[in-house]
Amino acid sequence: MRRFLFWALLCLLAGFLPSAAAQTSAQDSDPGYSLLETLNVDSYRDKGEAITAILQSDDERARGWLQALLDGRLQRTDDGRFVIVLNNTGRSWPVEDALSGEPLGEMSRRELDRIGINNALRNQLRSAIAVVDLYSPNVERRRTSADRLLGEVDDELFDTLTPLIEDAEDDYVRRRLIQAVAIYQTENGEMAGVEALAGSLHPRARVALNRATNAENPAVADAARAALASVEQNLKINRGVETLYFGLSLGSVLVLSAIGLAITFGVMGVINMAHGELMMLGAYTTWMMQQLLPGQPGLALMLSIPAGFLVAALAGIAIERSVIQFLKGRPLETLLATFGISLILQQLVRTVISPLNRTVITPEWMSGSLVINDALSLTLNRLFVMGFALLVFVALMLIMRRTRLGLEVRAVTQNRAMARSMGIRATRVDIMTFALGSGVAGLAGVALSQLTNVGPNLGQNYIIDSFMVVVFGGVGNLWGTLVAGLSLGVINQILEPWAGAVLAKIIVLVFIILFIQKRPRGLFPQKGRAAEG
Amino acid sequence: MSFFESLRERDRVFDFMTPQASTVDVRHGPILYMEDVTVSFDGFKAINKLNLTIDDGELRCIIGPNGAGKTTMMDIITGKTRPNEGSVWFGSRHNLLKMNEPEIASLGIGRKFQKPTVFEALSVFENLELAMAADKRIFPTLTARMTGETRDRIEEVLTTIGLTELRFQPAGILSHGQKQWLEIGMLLMQRPRLLLVDEPVAGMTEQEMERTAELLTRLAGKQSVVVVEHDMGFVRSIARKVTVLHQGSVLAEGSMDQVASDPSVVEVYLGADDEEAA
């Protein structure tokens, strides 16, 4: 198959070269050298042959050579070496070896001899370069090459590409080629192109259709309008999905940051204003891990999950033992004291590390995005954070429902005195609960380090939102936190394009303030006697 | 007759001048009337089709095992909890289900909580002053002045509850029994028509109990009193009529002896109680 394509291309290039295919002699150790050496002829015909030969060679460097040749940067030194000029401004030019790619320092233009081309060759080269990757054995490269063709097709390429469509092995490449050709046709006001573009989400396709609505042929213009309408419809759906995705992503961040708070607030009635700073500690742990393991951001991130949990949990225990245990039953004082702690932690990070933001590297397997179609691609890091949030939620649910600690925690929540008299050490439960809630904050920080800047203010930015989520969801109810977090995230994203980011946030805050008036105990209130306490 | 014409009739007392407190209509007998009241918390029926009638001036004791719905019943009467079904009337004019706590309180229903709740930061005297029947809106409260009459009234109640000596002490330093009395005293200051008393003798000494019994019996007649109590001895000492609640509805009603001999009551309550005692 590829062989056939190859021959097709060969014929194209050889179209005005009646001579037979060039034969290459591999005298030099690098077969590339002899390929290039064939370019070193005066006749443009022979040069054409040489170009064909280079294309034939399947040499990975071919594309670079052809591009350089087109740009006039492929040159020959006096001693017969081929170099590529990297920058041909000024007196002496930095060059690299055309074969090995090694930099060769600077050379004066007098030492170099340009391999000249004429207009005919220039056109051939352009077409050849555009399609050269379509023959690559690498599927990915073929696909990117096909992507690049959208909207770039001109008369010559059109002739080149049309026969190739039938023969494209890869489905994706074929669809792209069809689109590329259709865009060209549409721009020329041809009906066939408009029909082929209906339902295509690529922005170039939309540009072409838009232009076609002014086509001379009224039928074509109408068809273009209809196609455009269906495209818009399709885009709307995709935009909706995207909004939902961003909303759920923001929501899962809110859930992550609020769920630890829900535990400490719900179980112990403790308002921990330093919760955001515990998240900050988690994020800085990730940064620290990456400093300790340079070059392995992925491993560092994986290790940060337990480490972040541990660091934040230990900090939590320290806070509980040093302050909160003395303020039992005085929630408002606890709020003030933990706020003081949050100030100290922030300033500590500013003094010890830096007041500036730190960059946490996103490992390769988490960067990039999942492409669904031309209008919709989901960034991987957000997807990971969503999965992580869900995992943390399920884990917490299991801890609360299935473990001894969970049972004791629920007992202490409902009736402290009774739980104590049944032999539950309420103090120990308090410490464990607080450590758990703080640890989860640390996990949230690890996750956040993948989405935002890690700085001393990281916690502050999330604390009010987190409280809103807990209050909205209903205190002491993990499900409520999940539903509240996700729905607030989605609401925020729906409002954002319509109202702007800041106004959206204000609207959400006002909404919650009003909601609390209507249902003071949140979405999922605790009922019965326990709630009165 | 138009409103303006009616203004000229000087021998007539206008509607808006009629004192609010005397609007409780007890001509038909009962001062409190509860019919088919049901409350459920998450599907659990704390009160299940409860019917209860309290006559004007009656002293009624309500007993029942834990979870029988005694406290919830009081919550409904005072407006703290809204029933899912049923009707609650105060006299034959006031539908209590349409009112909030302060409105019900100013109609003349006073409540003493299970756990004594007095205002601990305020003095005994001030506790009584706040409870006193008066115009309880904001500005009258802000500009309120102490008159000789109100002081006499407070002193009178102080004597009744035996806290005259302690009247300038903060209520927080009172003993448990003294707090119970102060709370009853606060109810008296409200001049209620109906007093709801939740476990008035819990944690009291024998002597304090006797005094409380005496206090409650003295109140009955002028006011209607409903006492919820666990202590059988105390109930026996004051009760004329006893209602037994079980699983949110009335199980039996009658004199203490009648109730005590009812086999179903013995089974669910007294029986179990006796076993525990044995």
Partner: protein, 379 residues
């Protein structure tokens, strides 16, 4: 603390019969007098001379003290920990700022006779409706009271009606001020966005940069503090004050003896918000700027610390706390700015854990050790 029931005097006159209030007013007016004398009569260069900068600084402290008194009224006596009082302070400040902006007239950079500079800069062609009337002092000064009062009325009505109390109320008051901060940061709001309102020139015709005007503002702050203090004192010594304390300690019980708790809470909350607004209005001409940072949750929670440090439910404690903390802040930020947040954070922890009754608690503790605790029945 003495326990006395309602006296038979007129409610506003009651505070003047109290020893504590007499002492407070005496100390306050003595301080105002001393500063004035040291500023005006003692020549510059003398070690005792108080310069205009310091007078200005003291004036700022006094407006903060009034704000603290307002917070103590709701927190100390009503048990409502408002983490949003900075919002009322800032709104009062903005009302004053709008008046001062209009007083600039055509002397601004762009020389527009009506529009403030930032509106010209944003290419607005007319004043938004809510700026109308602020060129008149009486209107602006009325708004200093009414705007925060109205916000408190609406917010409080909704919150107290549905019995949102305790930490829930604290959290949503914080959300309120946070939302307002975000809103005021927006240029579209018409309050100068990020930069706020500044470059003021004169107030009631007096040049704001002259030291006489500054002394006047300082004295006005002192008098406002005295009036605010007496008003709060009159409220807390009335029967209404005792209803507040009763609500704070046993809300349900207060309802059952027939008080509409939510209305009392609303009344006191609104009064407190108005006092905070006045404090803001006095603060703005003295610092020369009002911007959205006054809405920041950090500032609101800091006010609570002043009250906690001074001692809750004493009113004079709030004044002491506000002055102490802000003096410390001035000193710290001048000498070692990095240490200030450590100190502030540490103060939060120390006060709540070790000094729950604040400095005022220490005073009464010492006094009680000196003299036997006697209580007269002066009912």
């Amino acid at each position: 603390m003495t326990f006395q029931a309602t006296s038979s005097r007129f409610w506003l006159a009651r505070p003047f019969t109290e020893r504590a209030t007499q002492l407070f007013l005496g100390v306050l007016f003595a301080a105002l007098l001393i500063v004035t004398v040291l500023h005006v009569a003692v020549p510059q260069g003398s070690a005792l001379h108080v310069n205009a900068y310091t007078v200005n600084l003291f004036g700022k402290y006094l407006s903060y003290a009034l704000l603290a008194v307002a917070v103590d009224l709701v927190w100390g006596y009503l048990g409502i920990l408002s983490l949003g009082h900075g919002a009322f302070f800032a709104i009062g400040g903005y009302a004053m700022g709008m008046y001062l902006m209009r007083q600039i007239g055509d002397r601004g950079t762009y020389g527009d006779p009506v529009l403030p500079d930032f509106m010209v800069f944003l290419n607005w062609d007319s004043l938004p409706w809510y700026w109308l009337g602020f060129d008149m002092a009486w209107f602006a000064f009325a708004m200093v009271l009414l705007a925060p009062g109205l916000l408190a009325l609406i917010f409080g009505f909704l919150a107290f009606r549905s019995r949102v109390t305790g930490v829930y109320l604290s959290i949503i008051t914080q959300a309120l001020t946070f939302a307002l901060m975000l809103a005021f940061f927006r240029n579209e709001m018409g309050f100068g966005g990020n930069n706020g309102l500044t470059d003021f020139r004169e107030i009631l015709g007096f040049n704001l940069r002259s030291s006489d005007t500054r002394l006047g503002l300082f004295l006005a702050s002192g008098v406002a503090l005295a009036l605010g203090y007496v008003l709060c004192r009159a409220i807390v010594t009335s029967k209404l004050g005792r209803v507040c304390v009763a609500t704070r300690d046993a809300e349900a019980r207060t309802r059952f003896i027939g008080y509409r708790v939510e209305r009392f809470q609303l009344f006191v909350f609104v009064v407190s918000a108005m006092l905070a607004g006045v404090a803001g209005a006095l603060y703005v001409p003295q610092v020369g700027i009002i911007n959205p940072s006054e809405f920041s949750p950090l500032f609101s929670i800091e006010i609570v610390l002043w009250v906690a440090l001074g001692g809750r439910a004493t009113l004079y404690g709030a004044v002491i706390g506000a002055i102490l903390v802000n003096y410390a802040k001035t000193v710290f930020t001048g000498v070692m700015p990095d240490a200030w947040l450590f100190a502030l954070g540490g103060l939060f922890v120390l006060v709540t854990v070790l000094l729950p009754k604040g400095v005022a608690g220490l005073f009464s503790h010492l006094r009680r050790r000196d003299s036997t605790y006697s209580r007269e029945a002066s009912a």
